[in-house]
């Protein structure tokens, strides 16, 4: 390395040596400083400020005109009471659960199936399939929703065309019920590939010797997949499930983007869409802040379960 030329200089100057001994102690903190500053400014402070706002409200005196007529006062837990007693929030949560109930099993089932096929010996076209199925990961949710949205529109959709040609009755892909499936399909399309690769990676990490004895015992590939591979990738499956559930609770982009194409999605269709409406369309940032805290807490409880699961596995080797 080019660093050798510095050696004589530092050896000749004792003060530099003293500085060097002090540096390593300070150095790690300096390396960490940008991350810590960003953490405080864009994670910690926003959370604290939101909790603060959730405890405030605007008080209007008189007719609410003129300067000083509107002032911010402490509201206690009023915003939280309003947030959790608004049934629209829970209806939204229910819709999201229904949507996730369709999405998660289908997406992870498909991801597991594809991963097992990628790992199977005699299956062909594996490289082509792996790249093609992972490709939608590179397409942002908004763009994915745009594409599928057009494919759902009767005037443009090949599905409607096919049904008509076959003389079958038309279905409304953007109806009040079908929109759950249509939205789930968009997320399945976008997310299967990533989860497939995660599970596939876990499959590749299983030592081949385990299969050997099973094969000698006359076990079929199908039995090996069911009895050995699936149990071995269970941790990966659990992790992808938890991730998928957390992502589902936050769903915003897909329904918001699909909204201009259908009347079946209200402005409060998901909890996050409701927060958005409260904050921006209704200008009630206090209620929005309280609702944010409620949603964040629910997410936190779910993620904590996830972290406990993961931390047991990671970093044991570094102690």
């Amino acid at each position: 390395m080019a660093t050798t030329e510095i050696q004589p200089a530092s050896a000749a100057a004792p003060p530099a040596q003293g500085a060097r001994r002090r540096w390593p102690r300070l150095a790690p903190y300096l390396f960490l400083a940008p991350a810590i500053v960003l953490f405080v400014l864009f994670l910690l402070l926003p959370i604290i400020y939101t909790v603060y706002l959730s405890l405030r409200r605007v008080q209007v005196s008189g007719l609410g005109l003129g300067p000083g007529a509107r002032s911010e006062v402490w509201a206690g837990l009023d915003n939280y009471r309003d947030a959790v007693t608004d049934m629209e929030l829970w209806r939204g949560a229910l819709r999201v659960l229904l949507y996730g109930g369709i999405l998660t099993p289908v997406m992870l089932g498909a991801a597991l199936l594809f991963a097992l096929l990628l790992d199977a010996q005699r299956v062909r076209a594996r490289r082509f399939a792996r790249i093609s199925i992972f490709l939608p990961y590179a397409v942002p949710a908004v763009t994915a929703t745009l594409m599928w949205g057009f494919l759902y529109l009767p005037a443009v959709s090949p599905f409607h065309y096919l049904l008509e040609e076959l003389g079958l009755p038309q279905v409304d892909l953007l109806g009040r019920v079908s929109v759950f499936f249509s939205l789930a399909n968009i997320a399945v399309w976008g997310g299967t590939g990533f989860n497939m690769i995660v599970i596939y990676t876990a499959l590749r990490a299983i030592p081949a010797e385990i299969y050997e004895s099973a094969r000698i015992d006359g076990c079929s590939e199908l039995r090996i997949a069911l009895r050995i591979k699936i149990p071995m990738v269970m941790p990966a499956l659990i992790m992808t499930t938890v991730f998928s559930v957390i992502a589902t609770l936050q769903v915003f982009s897909e329904p918001t983007t699909l909204r201009p194409l259908t009347n079946s999605i209200s402005s409060t269709w998901t909890p996050l869409m409701k927060i958005y409406r409260d904050a921006f369309a209704r200008d009630d940032i206090y209620l929005a802040a309280a609702t944010s805290v409620v949603i964040a807490l629910i997410t936190l409880v779910l993620s904590l379960g996830f972290l406990r699961l993961v931390q047991r596995r990671a970093f044991q080797d570094e102690q």
Binding site: M1, T3, Q7, S10, R20, P24, P28, F31, P34, L38, F39, L41, F42, L43, P46, I47, Y49, T50, A110, L117, L118, F128, A129, I131, S132, I133, P136, Y137, A138, V139, A141, T143, A144, M147, W148, F150, L151, V156, Y161, I197, V198, T201, A202, R204, A205, A208, S220, E221, L222, Q250, T256, T257, L272, F280, T299, S303, L304, L307, A314, Q316
Partner: protein, 296 residues
């Protein structure tokens, strides 16, 4: 791609090639190809649809190419003095700039956590990692409320700055550095009298590069995918990223169907470079690193 680093422990095929298993493999191949077609179909549709003019879009068979591609490209480029190309520029700035800074910040933090032992190391790591618990989407509205307070909303900074911190990036940089940078090399550079910053930049960073590129790519996709943050932060359409811009087109399209062809052409143009980036940098999509916790 993700498998190249693993030793080839997999056995060559077993000699007995019995008929039922060959039949099953055939079904397996068919299922994989079906999955691939399902994933490629919407992109193929986008490709075809972008060649149609406004009338053809609603009146010709879905997968029949139209005659309007050059016209669509011209319309898109000239719409509101080329606002689309501004969005392209903004997207590159947000996703490219944000991911670059994110990779750098993550690399520095990960290097410090992996190669130094100092008081508070585990606590700092745990606190930073706890950021995973607050997904970017949940944070967007709190970040908006705070930035509105200091009147920073509707600026480039309001999208760029919140996008830099990536708990996953730090986590990834730490495990990658621990594996890729030997302590002896760092020690040797120290004995040679190199400053800590120089060791990081000249010795450790080159060794960490594949991991850092992986962080860059994942963060690039994460920022490019984050619709909510720019959607609430930016009100001036000259600072929109492509996703928010296309959304506003779609939103107005209900009254002006002519915008639909612009949405489609714009979506195609924005997806193509990403797919190209994706295919050329395939070996860096190290999901096995992302899923590092799974394998243990």
């Amino acid at each position: 791609m993700t498998t190249t680093t693993l030793p080839l422990t997999r056995q060559a095929r077993t000699p007995s090639s019995d008929r039922p298993s060959r039949f099953l493999a055939g079904i397996g191949t068919a299922v994989l190809i079906l999955g691939a077609v399902y994933c490629l179909l919407p992109v193929a549709w986008l490709l075809v649809a972008s060649t149609k003019d406004g009338r053809e879009l609603f009146n010709s068979f879905t997968f029949l190419p139209g005659t309007g591609l050059t016209e669509n490209l011209r319309d898109l480029s000239s719409y509101r003095d080329g606002v689309y190309w501004r969005w392209v520029f903004n997207t590159v700035l947000y996703a490219g700039g944000g991911a670059f800074l994110s990779a750098l910040v993550s690399a520095m933090a990960g290097y410090a956590l992996a190669k130094f032992s100092f008081p508070g190391r585990q606590v700092i790591f745990n606190i930073l990692l706890a950021g995973v618990l607050m997904p970017a989407v949940t944070l967007a509205i709190p970040q908006y409320l705070l930035l509105a307070r200091v009147e920073l909303t509707n600026t480039y900074w309001s999208v760029l700055l919140p996008s830099i911190l990536s708990p996953y990036g730090i986590y990834l940089a730490r495990i990658y550095t621990a594996a890729a940078v030997p302590d002896s090399v760092v020690e040797a550079a120290r004995t040679d009298g190199a400053s800590e910053f120089r060791i990081f930049l000249r010795v450790a960073l080159p060794m960490m590069l594949p991991g850092v590129v992986t962080i860059f790519l994942f963060q690039f996709v994460a920022i490019w995918n984050n619709f909510l943050l720019p959607f609430i932060m930016i009100s001036d359409d000259s600072r929109f990223p492509i996703t928010v811009g296309l959304y506003t087109f779609l939103n107005q399209g209900a009254d002006r169907p002519a915008l639909y062809t612009l949405v489609i052409t714009g979506a195609l143009l924005s997806v193509l470079p990403l797919i190209a980036l994706f295919l050329t940098l395939q070996r860096y999509w190290r999901v096995d690193l992302m899923a590092g916790a799974v394998k243990a």
